[in-house]
Amino acid sequence: MDDTVQLDIQRFNPETGQVPYWQTFEVPAEPGDPVLAALMRVREEQDGSLAFRASCRSGICGSDGMVINGWPRLACKTQISEVQDAHGIIRIQPLFNLPRLKDLVVDQTPFWDKFSAVFPWLMPAVDKPEPEKERRMQMEPDDFQLLSKASDCIFCQICFAACPIVGLDQEFLGPQALIKAYRFEADPRDAGTPTRAPVLDDPEGVWRCRTIFNCTEACPKGIPITRGIQVLKRAMVQEELRR
């Protein structure tokens, strides 16, 4: 391999307490390699102290979300040739809107707190008897179409990092919690709307969304997040009218 790539990586070490700084690495790489492969080379061959999360390397586990050239992406799903700038350089930072722990690793707590706040599970109607056949609640295939994209979420936190409102307002639920709420609200078997409504129909719930579309544009699974949030907004207006 003759080709090399220059990675400018934003480093941070909590032990020194130093402000984040940029460090340049140069590693051999093919244009078609994923950025993650180059990062792994850096860690294996040049600097073992470089911290980043990664696991499956195939866009399923959602571990390696990071900001590549100013936009949050999955490092394993991003080819080097896609993001190299005119000088062949790739700039890598940790995800926005989450506190740094070390180098490219962020503290995911705020993200998970918001996710758990929307009751992200199926809440069947209490008066419905539990199905006897294998205790499974079945669903019509057509109904599944409504939520099939929303259920593709891999919890990579990229939408959370892409949303400028999440950056402004730490109380805002953010796109991931909202699309997860949508996934269950759109499920015909779910009866959890009265439980979720106080959280969703809150100024810090669906109403803080300003239809900026960064979440939808950044989502590596192509989930139409903004569409889901817009459906939730109209559902919440109907919920208010029903009261």
């Binding site: 506190p99 400028p164 239809t211 960064n214 907004k233």
Partner: protein, 126 residues
Amino acid sequence: MGQRSYRIRTIYRTGTVAWLLHRVSGLLILAYLYFHLVVLSSVVWPGGPRAFNRVVASLTTPPFIVADLALFAVILYHALNGVRLLILDMGWGLERQRPLFWSALIMGALALLGAAVVMAPLAVGR
């Protein structure tokens, strides 16, 4: 939730630019609203109608006509991007937010051109 640095660290894509411009234009129009009310309130100042005539005469000079045109541009942006937001809130065009933004800008530019043509004689002081 601990200490965090919450700065706007956004990537300025169409949706973000549209949102920021909507904010800025809204704030400018808010400021103009109060300016407008203060000017008009000259009718209830001591001196009443005569104070009003004096204030208005000084505000219809060419520099202020040009400022009116700038104000019109700001209002046009806020109104037309507002229509875009209303369309998106109805759940329409969610895959076409960018074309919607550009259409709003083009329609606004055309309306501004029309207003400029109509107001040009006033702006040159005739």
